[in-house]
């Protein structure tokens, strides 16, 4: 083990590790989409996954809350520990896991229900609140955290699908944090948004960091640089490089990272 690696190891240990992934492999049928990925995701940090499209970022993200279970052809191996417990242990119920590891998708996908019901849905099915008043409170606080409250407080009963794209995505974030997850996974949450909505969501991600570990997939390197503390670079199913965002962008160790960052592969 090299000196640098040992130093890194110690730093990682200093901050608590939320998710520890070791030798994660994903096959879609015969397509080997993810090869030997080792990552430690720290709590109360924003971790960005970057890389050319098709390199397996979403695939890895979807391993973290077992959304890949819904893909019949996907086969996951290796170990992913959440707070030291293997989430692929047969005793783990993926439904329970997903309440702890929330997810925001690329395309805003609010339920075709009212704004209120969108946010209230998670707490309701998990029985997190005992009264209507308590539920109201949760809805309000989540919408506030998602920086949406002021825009929608007068029309909580109007459909969530009637909001603008940026508002819809913030509604989806509010919905995801309403189950009080510990980790929030975001798959290119801004790719369908205009620059202003993107800025709002990025600001929001920075605030969410105080309570959740956030993992964000992005195709925009500027975005990764702006919002994340740690960055992982994926290429062709391999995790090429992982470290502090500043280091990755200013002083990449791997030539592939360097060429991606300087725009030579993409």
């Amino acid at each position: 083990m090299s000196v640098i690696e040992m130093k890194l190891e110690r730093e990682v240990a200093a901050e608590t590790i939320k998710i520890q992934a070791r030798k994660v492999q994903v096959h879609y049928g015969t397509n080997h989409a993810l090869k030997d990925v080792d990552v430690d995701i720290l709590s109360k940090n924003v971790t960005a996954f970057i890389g050319p499209s098709g390199c397996g970022k979403s695939t890895f993200l979807r391993c973290l809350n077992r959304m890949n279970d819904t893909v019949a052809s996907a086969k996951v191996s290796g170990s992913i520990l959440l707070d030291g417990a293997d989430i692929y242990d047969p005793r783990v119920d993926p439904v329970q896991l997903r309440a702890k590891v929330g997810m925001v998708f690329q395309k805003p996908n609010p339920f075709p229900k009212s704004i209120y019901d969108n946010v209230a849905y998670g707490p309701k099915i998990h029985g997190l609140t005992r009264s209507k008043a308590e539920l109201d409170e949760v809805v309000e606080s989540c919408l506030r955290k998602a920086a949406l409250w002021n825009e929608v407080k007068d029309r909580l009963q109007s459909p969530g699908t009637g909001l603008s794209g940026g508002q819809q995505q913030r509604l989806c974030i509010a919905r995801a944090i309403a189950t009080s997850p510990e980790v929030l996974l975001m798959d290119e949450p801004c790719s369908a948004l205009d620059p202003i909505a993107t800025a709002q969501v990025e600001e929001l991600i920075d605030e969410l960091r105080s309570q959740f570990s956030v993992v964000i997939v992005t195709h925009s390197m500027q975005q990764a640089a702006r919002v994340s503390q740690r960055t992982a670079f994926f290429h062709l199913g391999h995790l090429v490089e992982y470290g502090e965002t500043g280091t990755i962008f200013t002083n990449p160790k791997d030539p592939r990272t360097e060429s991606y960052i300087t725009g030579r592969i993409g």
């Binding site: 929330g102 609010p110 075709p112 099915i125």
Partner: protein, 440 residues
């Protein structure tokens, strides 16, 4: 102004002209096809309605009948058992006598033999009066204003089906009777009125088309449609949800899928044979019963509900499923809270159209004996489901097989009733689809 006639933009080239001509030709073909289809539809509707609408009206003869206690209640004790011994024929004689007396009282001259006067009144009249008296024995001794159905030939005369010319060759009526009918109409004794009995009365025998109604058939069809709805909708939706959302995609489910598609295309009479073999011969259920018809139609309707339901489930965007699973909903919660509500309009539409097809189906019902002549109304469910009943499409078929032309009018009227039910059901399907169609 410069002359622009030879500007290239103003002179379409040969290719463009040919393309435009092809487009015009195509439009003409399309328009012709639609015109032909519409003309056929109009022709169909006009012929059905012109033949069938008269069935909703009926010729009635109204005159006072004295319910003579000496003939109707010989014991004088108003004992129902004793009174029931007086037959329909006894009441018929009473009616004939009262009718003749009424003609005389009105001073109407005619050339009908006194013995034949009663033939102008439906044979049903005696039975109706008997039912009336037995239901309310207090009427005995009174003189009531009785409204009797006119005989089918008299009715046909006022509806244009029978003329003096045809009557002269008809042993069931005569020109003299028609002439008398005309006079009675002028005197206000005979009138053509709306006939609710067409919808509420039961079928009648070959000699009295004027008394035949759709009551039993409508009730039988209603029972069967309800059975189909209660069985085919839950089973069909459960099967679709399982196949679409839960079942693994493998060869076995592929085979099931192909078979469902094939079942939807199986001729309906095959389901009738199946029903005969399973429900009647094997399970021993009664013939002609709505329960058997309902079960057979359920089998037939199931694939026709499963196919649109699966299409509706497929049409729900996967992002909604991801969203629900992503906040930790279970598979079943995802389906019941999000997927099914979004698919509901499609499911409802498919179900209603499946029910409408079941309502209009006759072939399988013929095989399980629903073509039998049924005079008595089936009882209330659930026992009533095992009583013999008729069904609308089979009743239509049945009436077209009868000799008396009065039944042709009845059959056309029944077609109108069936069409109205079908149009209402399809309109409901369209309305529901429009109302609950969601955008996501």
């Amino acid at each position: 102004m410069t002359d622009m006639t030879d500007h290239p933009l103003l002179m379409p080239d040969a290719r463009t002209k040919a393309r435009n001509a092809a487009e015009r030709r195509f439009r003409a073909y399309g328009l012709t096809a639609i015109t032909l289809a519409l003309a056929a539809l109009v022709w169909l509707l006009v012929s059905i309605f012109s033949a069938g609408l008269p069935a909703f009206k009926q010729t009635f003869i109204t005159f006072p009948v004295t319910l003579d206690a000496a003939t109707l209640d010989k014991s004088g004790k108003l004992d129902p058992v004793e009174m029931a011994k007086v037959t329909t024929i006894g009441y018929g004689k009473l009616i004939d006598k009262a009718f003749a007396a009424e003609i005389e009282a009105k001073g109407i001259a005619h050339e009908v033999k006194p013995k034949e006067l009663g033939d102008m009144i439906s044979e049903q009249a005696g039975a109706s009066l008997r039912d009336m008296v037995l239901a309310n024995p207090a009427l005995v001794g009174q003189t009531i204003q009785f409204q009797a159905l006119a005989n089918g030939r008299i009715d046909g005369y006022f509806k244009g089906r029978v003329t003096m010319e045809t009557a002269s060759r008809d042993k069931n009526t005569s020109p003299e009777k028609l002439a008398l009918a005309d006079k009675l109409r002028d005197a206000g004794v005979i009138a053509v009125k709306l006939n609710p009995g067409f919808l509420t009365m039961s079928d009648a025998s070959d000699k009295r088309p004027e008394a035949a109604g759709l009551g039993v058939a409508i009730l039988g069809s209603l029972y069967m449609v309800v059975i189909v709805l209660c069985l085919a909708l839950p089973i069909g939706v459960a099967a679709s949800v399982y196949l679409e959302e839960f079942a693994p995609k493998n060869t076995f489910t592929d085979i099931i899928e192909v078979n469902i598609a094939n079942l939807a295309a199986v001729p309906s009479i095959v389901y009738g044979i199946l029903g005969l073999a399973i429900f009647i011969n094997f399970a021993g259920l009664p013939q002609s019963a709505p329960i058997v018809g309902g079960l057979v139609l359920t089998l037939m309707t199931l694939p026709r509900i499963i196919i649109p339901t699966r299409a509706a489930l497929k049409a729900v965007p996967p992002s909604i499923r991801d969203a629900a699973l992503g906040v930790g909903a279970s598979k079943l919660q995802t389906v019941t809270h999000h997927v099914l509500p979004l698919a509901a309009p499609g499911i409802l539409t498919g179900t209603i159209i499946g029910l409408a097809q079941a309502l209009g189906e006759s072939a399988p019902l013929l095989l399980i004996g629903m073509v039998a002549f049924v005079k008595d109304f089936p009882g209330l469910p659930p026992q009533g489901l095992f009583d013999p009943a008729a069904a609308l499409p089979v009743q239509i078929y049945n009436w077209t097989q009868r000799g008396d032309p009065g039944f042709v009018e009845r059959a056309s009227g029944a077609i109108i009733v069936l069409l109205v039910f079908l149009v209402v059901m399809n309109a409901a399907a369209i309305y529901l689809r429009r109302k609950y169609e969601r955008r996501w």
